[in-house]
Symmetry: none
DNA sequence: AATGAATGAGGGTTCATTCAT
DNA sequence: AATGAATGAACCCTCATTCAT
């Protein structure tokens, strides 16, 4: 059954590629792009450095693959939260804590963050843009919240979305420096009261 | 007068060192530590690469000097704001916008931020700690604010200080990615209403 | 009928080998041996790189096969000319123009020339000798020409054969550089009058 | 005397560069461009491989420098011959034998020939063109020869120049293959009678 | 007969650092 | 105080070759 052989072969290749991706996550989560050694990634994945080039064209491609996977995993959290939670305010809180949990525990996601934040010459912007999209997501949820009365109608949606994004990114940045993101969930939890205060309907927003 | 010569020489040496620092700021503000080339710094300063080693011991030393200068300049803003503003709330707001302005316009400070945020192998923590101190500063100001009634007494000082730090760092991170910090002042301005809302005395803080 | 299968398989194998040879011709005609990539040859032939090793032992073997085929094709021209032309002088002229035509149009022959001219480490001399043999062929034809009176008896056979060989090789080298041998036939045509002048019987040869 | 120091330093650098060029000649004269190892060149010159990059930008630059030097040396022969010999025919003969002598004894010139003949991807045409110019030189000399009656007026200048170029290039190619150009002078000497026969004034040229 | 996957040696190049002057 | 020159370690990447299927 040569066809079965083919399949197994290809499957094995995909496994290796997956291992490589995980290894890349480990390495890129620890050191900046320029300091990351392909040799370390290959070693970590248990294959030769040359093999790496069978699966990825070059160093930048590896980084891009990590970024893509990171985005997919973060989008996964969004999806799950969207499905499970009805009301806007809670959805937002859950999204934040869900992302925090993911970031705190998933090395590949941590690697993606590192890569996204630094201007590596060869990893083009295509992969680094998504920060903007999270603002849109937050705005969307806020609008839902206004509709379902979990969020005050006085909230200036756009600016608040931007603000919340800053809060999360700031927490993420600081947690990354402090203890490799282990404290991120705690930080987000600590921020929750302030967020509720800002959004809860019983207060008017006298913006400047 | 050989002594005069000596003096001139030493003065000239300091000038060169200063030029080197500025050049380092320019380069480190643009690319990550590992991508920064001593050659580029030397070129930018208009001296030979070899000379650089007369003024600094090695690459890490240059980075450390940049970090020190950055911290001095940021501390300068704190000093000026502390002197000029009486009431806690306004002092805090002024501090934020003052720092934002500095970051947006001063390449060396931008360089410092870049260096502080990334885990460069050889620039040890000594220089990266200051993030923690800003939380202390914020807490101090908040306490003053409570005392002078510009800040609500219900505000949980420690957590709020941490939260505000996250906001600023988040704005800084995003502005850095977006347009090399040009938009940071605008971001801080946009965040002002939320901050006022959180701190102003006429609302109770019944957070968990 | 398993035997028929066998036959078909073997035939198919030969086809592939042939395709491989053609592909090698294409690649070796374009770039020096060391720059020729087995991957390019395999791609050009439409098979996998691994398969190439079923048909040839290694890179040098591929080159040797190309050289052999080239020599066979050039010898073919000699054979055809010998059969068709009686008189020595005309035979010589026809041989030159026939070879020129072949070189100008046959990529595999071009590849052979490239390979023969450069000192590739692993394609040993076995394959590169034939230059000498062309001198012998030319001498033989010259002798025939003297006998049939189409070539002057005063011609110093050995040296003239060597000289004619140089002319052809020179034209070949220059045409190769100029336009990938497209101009070789024209060059040979332009050289014809000089050759006739040197060989025609009505003039005495007062060599040193 | 710091100025003297400067001078000595720079002179030392030029010496190294010169040594590097000679070493490159040795290596490039032996193996094709792609097989030439920068390590071998550096070793041959007695410096580190890294130093090589202080004097030349990259491998292609080294090759280009060799080509330039080769052209200068060959042009030198032309100059000397032009000065020493009055009559066209003798000038031509002397030029050929002078070049042959140079090629046979000068490794750097041999290297230049090797480089000029093979299509190395990164050594651009700028450096490989000069073959054409030799045809012009030959034509010029032939014209002089016609004027001073050392060359027959019936000679078709352009075509004859091209033909003579082919002869020399052919001899050069074959000598290169045979014994690293040692036999080139002998080959040129052997060709001399044929050339004289073609050019000497007492015969008419019935060109096609 | 053929393929996808893997290997490993080696090459060119970069760059922080040092040295002689 | 400054420079040109030199060093050497290391990195990314290529590519002929091999192996399991």
């Amino acid at each position: 059954m040569p066809e079965a052989d083919e399949k197994r072969k290809r499957a094995h290749g995909l496994l290796t590629r997956q291992a490589l991706l995980v290894a890349a996550g480990t390495v890129f989560s620890r050191v900046p792009y320029a300091d990351a050694r392909l040799k370390d990634i290959a070693d970590e994945a248990g294959i030769s450095q040359g093999s790496l080039y069978f699966h990825f064209g070059n160093k930048a491609d590896v980084a891009k693959a990590v970024l893509e996977e990171q985005q997919a995993r973060m989008a996964g959290v969004l999806l799950r939260v969207t499905e499970s939670e009805r009301r806007g305010l809670e959805r937002l809180i859950r999204l934040f804590s869900g992302l925090a949990e993911l970031v705190a525990t998933d090395e590949l996601v941590q690697a993606g963050i590192r890569l996204a934040v630094q201007p590596a010459i060869d990893v083009e912007d295509e992969a680094r843009t998504p920060y903007a999209s999270w603002v849109l997501v937050a705005a969307e949820i806020l609008r839902d919240g206004v509709e379902d009365r979990s969020v005050s109608g006085d909230v200036p949606i756009g600016q608040m979305a931007e603000f919340l994004n800053e809060v999360f990114v700031g927490a993420q940045t600081l947690a990354g420096l402090e203890d490799k993101w282990a404290s991120l969930p705690a930080r987000v939890r600590a921020a929750e009261p302030m967020i509720r205060l800002l959004l809860s309907p019983q207060r008017e927003h006298g913006a400047a």
